[in-house]
Symmetry: C2
Amino acid sequence: MKKINIGLLGLGNVGTGVYSIFQTNHDKISLSAQKELSIKKILVNNLNKDREVSVSPDTLTTSAKDLFNDPEIDIIVELLGGIHPAYDYIKEALKAKKHVVTANKAVIATYGRELIQIAIDNHVALRYEASVGGGIPIINTLSKPLSVNHFEEMIGIVNGTTNYILTQMTDYGLDYDEVLKAAQDKGFAEADPTSDVEGEDAAYKLSILISTAFGMEVPPASIPREGITKISKDDIEYASQFGYKIKLLATAKKSDDHLEFHVHPTLVPNTHPLASVSNEFNALFLKGNAVDELMLYGKGAGSLPTGSAVVGDIVEIAKIIGTNFDPTISIPENSGNLKPSGEGISKYYIHFRVEDKPGALGIISTAFGNNGISIETVMQRSRGEKYVPVIYILHDCTREQLNSTFDDISKDNTVKEVRSILRVEEY
Amino acid sequence: MKKINIGLLGLGNVGTGVYSIFQTNHDKISLSAQKELSIKKILVNNLNKDREVSVSPDTLTTSAKDLFNDPEIDIIVELLGGIHPAYDYIKEALKAKKHVVTANKAVIATYGRELIQIAIDNHVALRYEASVGGGIPIINTLSKPLSVNHFEEMIGIVNGTTNYILTQMTDYGLDYDEVLKAAQDKGFAEADPTSDVEGEDAAYKLSILISTAFGMEVPPASIPREGITKISKDDIEYASQFGYKIKLLATAKKSDDHLEFHVHPTLVPNTHPLASVSNEFNALFLKGNAVDELMLYGKGAGSLPTGSAVVGDIVEIAKIIGTNFDPTISIPENSGNLKPSGEGISKYYIHFRVEDKPGALGIISTAFGNNGISIETVMQRSRGEKYVPVIYILHDCTREQLNSTFDDISKDNTVKEVRSILRVEEY
């Protein structure tokens, strides 16, 4: 049985998962690859750190060169995270004609096409299943069994931290700040949660999904996004009364030759398959013109689930090594010549705080009418306080129509503030 | 660009889907395969039948030999259904060194290993993604990205007809017979629905899943199964009061070196991802020792979704043609040396009909106790009728313990009948 040697860059959370899968599931790995796979060298910062897995000291090195220059190493696995030095190492590994597996969403979203081209030039594989959705085989599914579909829409819950926070707010009627703190204590949220809660992490993943499914190049920074920090327990409660759950959705929808894409907190009807995706779980819901509706659901993070995706990529490459099957993937091609269409049209949920006196509903409703927006539902709650919440659910409109309405309303003092602007997904 | 020719055996529901995907999505098919694919010949029964797709008459033939003997045809796609002549044709095609794609669950469940061996002997591919779960890429996911996992459990809703019937019974409070008739009128159930409603279809699919995920050979006829014909709207209503939905589940669960498997109507907690799989949708929920919980959800039948899976298989084979990459798959290997363990232990829901007089609850509860079964919940409804329903939810027990309890109870006339025996899944 041919032997394949692997080098790991990094032995943190995911690296430890990969290493322990090689220990516990070695039989399945060999059976699937029909080759003998082993981890030969691992780049670490500190040779003497205590680790959860027991690794022979001569496997560890602090020099990446030890991996790139080892002619016996066939596959380099980048698990460092962040752009630098991960991006530089991936490039160096590809140029040294090593196959590369990475879990790095930031690098793939930002430099994916350049790196795929370098892989093609060096006739080696570059795989990144774990960069989106942790253990869920999303990239494989989109680019292999479903690749014969024209995709129509793609809606993902791709950030576990925000989904955990929103689920806990929903289940226990808590406010954002309380849940964030508990999530940090439990390790479900970072000490600095900005990238997660502001939707940046989801935008990275959406950029990769759009490239994979639609072949369109969309830099993560150009994706309109809004995070979850302004969502209150009241919003969650009102949404629930209307039959919805609030989820942070990464969305791409095609209409004719335009693609709308954004990351936005959204009311999802309870009947939608995404509504039951709770806590740290991720899911991708999509529609293809042949396969129709499909959803992939699972653990979007974690040492072993993410490790499962990484080891799956390693095995797919190991099968190819020694054959003349082309290990490269093509640069995603925007074959439909799709153009971006901003945030598109949507139903919206708007939460105003208004003075509790006659006329407020009239001012707001008139302003919506003047801007061509029809109202589906209004709910006003009087609580004997000076300012009361008024909730509108609006029929399809553009963000520009909304902004123009808010301008009109701001001329009157009755409306104190626009508390929340949430999209509403239909099903 | 190299040209690959395909021959279809059958142009019914799925065949029409495959043909029309080749028409509408030809660009995506070529892009994905990096080869030019076309359907060269199609076996039909009747050359002159009116069809939904427009096919050039010289593509059609009534002789399968025209496909097997055509040296230009690389891939044969079997879409006839049923065991004969589908099985014979697949064998003949493989022996003629044609790659084969099939959507045939009955053939793969019954003769899969024999056919895989013939494919290996002739060094050609045999793929059957569409045999389980229609358009959902279940076989690909289990055998590729997730193949590095040791699977722990696998629970599928793999029959769309029964799931449609159960969902309609739940949503509209209707009884089985009423819904079956409506489903037949709408084409969601066959005129003779026996194979679906008695769980035979699900047993075929479970046999394929067990072979793929656990490597164990389980003939479909040896899978304990019970259908949905005895489920009443009352059962659905009681289950709902306890927080459950009733689903027909195809289950395989590993414990140490034993595998329990069966097809059985089951109470699924509303919080379980499978509970929200409604109507004609299918889903597979699984647990792997690395990936943890994962669910794949989509359309389990239909011309285009099933066609999507078939065309996905065709493209994967087309990529391999012309390379020295091994196109065969291995005979599934029961590497864990798993042994069958019957129906295993489970929580159960039991619906008795008893005389509405003192003592009935005592008789039943005592009999459960005498057989070592503990009771989680009892619900008795008095309706002023002679016989009233009594519902028990029982803690884990074996089917043998249950049967022994029923024997004990039958000695007393107070209990008129055991109306329903349903498993209860925990989450």
